[in-house]
Amino acid sequence: MEIRIKDLNKNYFSEGKTITALSNVNLTMPANKIFTLLGPSGCGKTTLLRCIVGLEIPDSGEIDIGDEIVWSKDRGILVPPERRGLSMVFQTYAIWPHMNVFDNVAYPLQVRNEPKEEIREKVEKTLRFVQLEGFENRPATKLSGGQQQRVALARALAPEPKVILFDEPLSNLDAKLREETRKELRSFLTNLKITAVYVTHDRIEALSLSDTIAVMKTGRIMEIGTPKEIYFGSGQQFVIDFVGRTNLIEGKVVNIENDGPLISTAMGIIACQTKIAPPVGSIVMVSIRPEFIKLVERDCEKKRNLFQGRVESLVFIGEAYEGEIKVGETRLITKIPATSHIKEGDEINLCIDPDSCTVLLR
């Protein structure tokens, strides 16, 4: 089911101050896709999720789920959470400690007064799906973190909802388990044909899991796009900075060529290949991701953007070196292949492909 959010606003009042949690949010979350709300803590992503599920009441706007309006200020509609037919996985998992695994998973079915036999079958099926068969009679709180997370997922899946919401479900798992669970979650959700709304502050989680990402900041949607569009194509400094590491270099537009502007910076002229056409003379930022700064022997393939620099520091991080290279007075972070033979202090040539240079207007 599609979720449409129209002009949603929400403010909190705390100690005489007004805190804006959501400011004019407009979104459409397409049916049967994974939609991620990404942003730093306090950006309003969790508030938005809680508004969708009905645990929080917005100040104004409208929320539609499928064909139903679940909240509308103007029409005076408020469907309580228990009648929205959604499922949610909480950050704390919210496993009920006085129930065993079976009862936790069966709960949403028992609420609907389904026949006992049917409940048993569905719970069994769901537990098999999340690979927890045989755990029915275990006290839920005696399970490991990863297993509890699966119980929470099973409970959300058991009623076969059309929409499932995730509030940072992986943030309480350790790094390795988080990676595994992320992959599993991706395959679960793709197999199920279900609309998933996923809230996280972890960029890797967002990039690897989502069909669509909405980046949020101080209650506003900054940008919406596919993971690739967000990572490579964003024109906003905040978004670029938030979804990955980057070098930001200030400069002035000196000329516009066919395929993009030439920008004069402290490290020299950088040619950018982009559709954005800032006026000549304007001050802009150039963003270059570390993985696109390449070391070359002599010249670049495209004969553009060749710079000379000195290796300031070189740190081995396993899959590569992380190098800091000084071009003039500008320091660039780069990723250098682990097989490279360069040393600290070496004078090197580096090359930046114009279509990896993003121009940010000020």
């Binding site: 909480f90 998992y93 009920w96 400690p97 006085h98 129930m99 028992q110």
Partner: protein, 561 residues
Amino acid sequence: MIWTRKVLTPSLIVIVGFLTVCPVAMLLLGSFSEGLGAFGTFTLDKYIKSYTDPALIEIIVNTIVFIIGSALVATALALFMAYLNTRTNIPFKVLFEIISIVPMMIPHILFAVSWAILLNPSNGLINLLLKQILNLQNSPFNIYSLPGMILVEGLLDLPVSYLIIAPAMSSFDVSLEESSKVCGSSNLRTLFKITLPVLRPAILASITLVAIRSLESFAVPSALGMPGRIYLLSTHIYRIIATGFAADYGMAAAVGMSALVASITLIILYRHLTSESDKYVTISSRGYRPALIDLHGAKVPLFTIVAFLSFILIVLPVLVLLYTSFIPYSMVPSLKAFGMMSWKHWLAVLKDPISLLSLKNSLFLGIAGATLGVLLTLFVSYTIVKLRTTASGILESLSFLSFSFPGIVIGVGFMWFFVRTPLYATIGSLLIGYIATYLPYGIRPLTSAFVQIHRDLEESSRVCGGGMLYTLRRIIVPLLIPGIVSAWILMATMFVRELSVSVVLSRPGNEVLAVQILRFAEDGLLGKLSALGILMIVVSTTLVVLASAAGAKLTKLQKEG
């Protein structure tokens, strides 16, 4: 929300405020008044009279020695036990669980009296036995002395101290010790140089809490101190109002003020220490248990000490009472003694109208008082944990302060109040006095129960389709039941055995068990005392068993939905 803001919180503040502030205010007022019947004009007479009494110096010195002594005895024993349990391979660890819970069920007055039966200088059973065996002229032991009182009070407060020290000891970050050992220290040196210093806040907290409890204590000072003419503040107050021809409640109030000030100072110190200890004791989240220290040859002797302690804490008092209730007069167990056993004392108690009345009253106070108390604390804890407004802060401070109020002082304060109401000398006055004094004992388990119910647990039920009432029935109530049951048990057992508030508020017509037992002790009627004492233990144990069974049953029903 409007309901909670407009109705619930204000009415709770009124009720709790009345229960805690009223006795203190009346006590203050009373201490400046002429007499219980009429306040009269403002006067300092009572203060002058009570604080120029030359005997007061000795009473204060006695009190200080008593509270410090029992605090040290209880804490030292608790440290010893907690260390053995959490850090060594001592066998039968279940014994430690028993020691930390079961003694709370034995009424303090009975525990004290059973020691008097064993060790009083004229016909204490152990004294008689030793005199026979060793052919002594005089009794070797005298429990009616400060050391005797300190020992018994220390044993009584051992469980309280253990419950503070054991968790601190087991959450202790072992790597602190391991690094000391890596540096070449022996186990013993590590214990004294690292373990004990790091545990210092917990140790100080335990000493303070036991000091508060022994300052409040009335059972031991009355059953063991008064026969030996050793008076403490609490028994001094009791002497002023209960003995002699003219009970002087003004003087009692004036003396009570210093006990109150002392206990409030101690409780503030205690709160300071516990908030310190949260910072201090490093809790390791690595979740692996440290290697237990192998006791080798010391295992058997150390275990013998622990077994002996549990024996004298739990088994001995009951055995002594049971034995005494059947024999005609104090005598060492022998064939002759067993031959003379009879139901005489039991029949006498069961025919004694006052004993029966006190049994009935205490049972009623236990059941009704605990039920009302739990109901009240349920709302108070909800307000403290879930609403978190300014009002909940006030409620928390009030209930926290009242934790330190000595029962007999609260009793005197309420006396000044009740004398002006029709409640005077009714069972209602006791009910109010009890709930006021023991409110914090209900708030503790219930606040932790509410804390356990994380907001997510309610919300996830609502998202799953459970409405408000469904969520209340299947999630919130079942999660609260254990807290409710333990609060009820705690209050019910405290009320059945209540002594220090009752000695003031209990009048002819509203006698209660503990006061009746004290009367028997004062009159030397040990046989009747023991029979009634056993009945008292049976009553509170039955309440505990029934409440636990009801709790288990309810939980089961709720689970099945």
